[in-house]
């Protein structure tokens, strides 16, 4: 047993860290937040230059085939920097859907472009403000053309293509590939708690699409895709949680009240200790999920749900209580606390909320598997 990332994997993470420290500072994030940029462009270019959109794409499709463990550490860095790039939508969702479900022709067409960052993709699922289910998908595909409206699509403003969950006219739900640059696609910017995510409502009015994966298998495939993506999003979440905790600790050391650093008051010390504990548990669950993803383990659905549940909890706790540690400064626009708070709440809901993932965890919990901590 060796429960750690390799030196090679860590090396890539260090490179990403350096890239983002230069080109994805909170000043860059704020440019997107305040509408002065659509994404952190140099950061995205840097990621593309490093070949990272193709991290898990086979070399035969132009990828670097570095594996999921590397991709997990990249995701952690993106989360730590609240990176406003199309990376997560394009890589964890669109590219992953094609890798898992597309046919050879589709892969040959799109994977090289995605791996090279020439096009970016996303996933379009939700149509209502109820948690998504098989019963509230009204988008329909007839004669190879998609009509319907997706209420919220992450990076939907900038993506070139989308994997779309829709219902076949005479069949069940399935995944389809749509080119968002088509004239019958209309995109409207959507205001959310995290404006750095380039969210859009997308209306399809008879847009030609291709089936990805089996007809009628859309719902199961979506679950499979979510399981895989959940691991990567969980790494973004723990990355962000760590940054929020670091920010809280630094402030508590330098800010004085009553003649002493506020970090010497137990109320705040213990709050940060609890943040650390939540983060540590989530981090360890993420490590296990990374292994399950990388090794195609049968444990993946459980490992993914476990990582997702604890990472969502950890990031929401750390980003919230980082504000509390900062006191009045914590809810000013000027301080960076809200960048983490916004992103934590966005990530908590993308792929479905905590309640849905808790339910999924219990669904996939095999009988008799209730570990004591060993």
């Amino acid at each position: 047993m060796n429960f750690d990332f390799s030196e090679d994997e860590k090396l890539v993470a260090d490179q990403v860290q350096r890239l983002l420290s230069d080109h994805c500072t909170t000043a860059h994030v704020r440019q997107v937040l305040e509408g002065d940029a659509s994404m952190a462009k140099e950061a995205w270019s840097g990621l593309v230059d490093m070949g990272l959109p193709g991290t898990v794409v086979p070399e035969s499709y132009g990828g670097v085939e570095a594996g999921y463990l590397t991709l997990c550490l990249v995701a952690q860095q993106l989360g730590a920097h609240v990176a406003p790039t199309p990376f997560s939508s394009s890589v964890y969702l669109a590219t992953e859907a094609l890798l898992q479900f597309a046919d050879e022709a589709q892969k040959s067409t799109w994977l090289p472009k995605l791996a090279a960052g020439e096009v970016t993709g996303t996933l379009a699922v939700n149509e209502t403000t109820d948690e998504v289910s098989q019963n509230n998908i009204d988008s329909i595909v007839a004669d190879g053309h998609l009509s319907g409206r997706k209420l919220i699509v992450a990076d939907g403003l900038t993506a070139d293509i989308a994997v779309v969950l829709a219902v076949a006219k005479d069949g069940g739900p399935a995944l389809y590939l749509a080119d968002l640059r088509h004239e019958s696609v209309e995109r409207d910017a959507v205001e959310t708690v995290d404006p750095t995510k380039a969210s859009a409502t997308i209306t399809f009015d008879g847009v030609p699409v291709e089936l990805i994966g089996g007809a009628g298998e859309g719902w199961q495939n979506l679950q499979r895709l979510y399981d895989r993506a959940a691991v990567l999003f969980a790494f973004e979440q723990i990355g962000g949680a760590q940054s929020a905790l670091d920010m809280a600790v630094a402030y508590a050391q330098e800010r004085f009240a009553f003649g002493r650093p506020i970090g010497s008051f137990q109320a705040l010390k213990h709050m940060m200790a609890d943040m650390y504990v939540a983060l540590k548990l989530a981090e360890s669950n993420c490590y296990y999920a990374a292994w399950a993803l990388a090794s195609d383990s049968a444990d993946l659905p459980l490992a993914a749900a476990t990582a997702r549940v604890s990472a969502t909890q950890a990031y929401q706790l750390c980003s919230r209580d980082n504000i509390q540690v900062h006191g009045g400064m914590g809810f000013t626009w000027e301080f960076d606390c809200h960048l983490y708070y916004r992103r934590s709440n966005y990530l908590a809901l993308q792929l479905g909320g905590l309640a849905a993932w808790e339910d999924r965890l219990v669904d996939v919990l095999p009988l008799g598997d209730s570990p004591e901590a060993a």
Binding site: T129, N136, T192, E254, R320, Q324, G330, L351
Partner: protein, 413 residues
Amino acid sequence: MDFNDTKEEAAFRAEARSWIAGNAPAHLAAPLASSTFGGINTGDEDPLQAAKAWQKKKADGGWACLQWPTEYGGRGATPMQSVIWSQEEGVYGKLSGTFIIGQGMCGPTLIAYASEEHKRRFLPKMASGEEIWCQLFSEPVAGSDLAGLRTKAERDGDDWVINGQKIWTSGAQHSDYGILITRTDPTVAKHKGLTMFFLDMKSPGVDIRPIKQVNGQSGFNEVYFDNVRIPDAQRLGDVGNGWQVSLTTLMNERLAIGGSIATGVPEVRELVESLNMGPGKAIDNPAVRSKLADWYAKSSGLKNTAARSLTALSKGDVPGPENSIGKLVVGGMMQDIAKFAMDIQGFGSLVMDPEVAEGNARFQAMLLRSPAIRIEGGTDQILRNIIAERVLGLPADMRADKGLPYNEIPTGS
């Protein structure tokens, strides 16, 4: 024990109700009711003008600052009558937010410490909303540790000259006057060298800069003082006695804030009754029911605690620090409610566009505004300290600044 009105209370209620029916701005009722947390909706009207208009009308009718003496613009009413008025005023009460700091905190401080002449000059216009007041207490270096403030007042003839900076001043941008706590002697212990004044916010050298909050609003301000002159006649209380004066203000803050407090419970209840979740509505889901019940019990507990305080007040008791629990309970609860309400809707709940997701913005507004509740007017941590020390009688924290003159207290910089 009796929850019904006494005969006198019933008569007062009828009178209030009748006056409101005849005078309230009925066209604002609907927009006000749809206000989201952290803002008021007055439709096409300017919120400040709408608020001032209603306040003036109330004052003219004798329904402003009910508990103040009539000679200062009040009605000389009992605490119970004041509550009955609030119940009857209902949704129109949302228009009073602009005046709460002045009427709830500055007013009582003036009543306790200002000269008779000043009281007759300033209180009636404060009551009628013609003049708005703010409270200049917190500073960048003095938040929870309020008495650690730096803003300096130096005597110069009949005036005092003020230099320094305040922060978190609600409504400073449209205030006419403010009460201001300053340090007049940095060589004595920090609580002992403070002095309170009131000042004209249009005085030369006062510079007001709004603070943008996480939710994009700017209810708070920074206020800079550059050689601002205040006549000594506008001093409230003795020189060096500012801390005691501020306690009067802050005790009334607890009353003002504790008086009426949004919890988020009605909103989440409305949501779960209509939201689809699994095979039924969210309200049929046991996890939702359990949380709703707990939140209802908490908000009900606050409501009933307020009723007990009111009874005590009616009997002449002074409200104690136990009233700190309202904000402490609500801050955490509203954060939980906002998170939960969005969680059970999933990804779609992030959409704020009211055309596609009516009512959703409510929970997003709570999500972005509720962290501030746990901080403003005393952090959760300070409130727990107050409860522990002043209600339960537990020992104070160890003090690093104990016995030190203000200018020798460690500041880390």
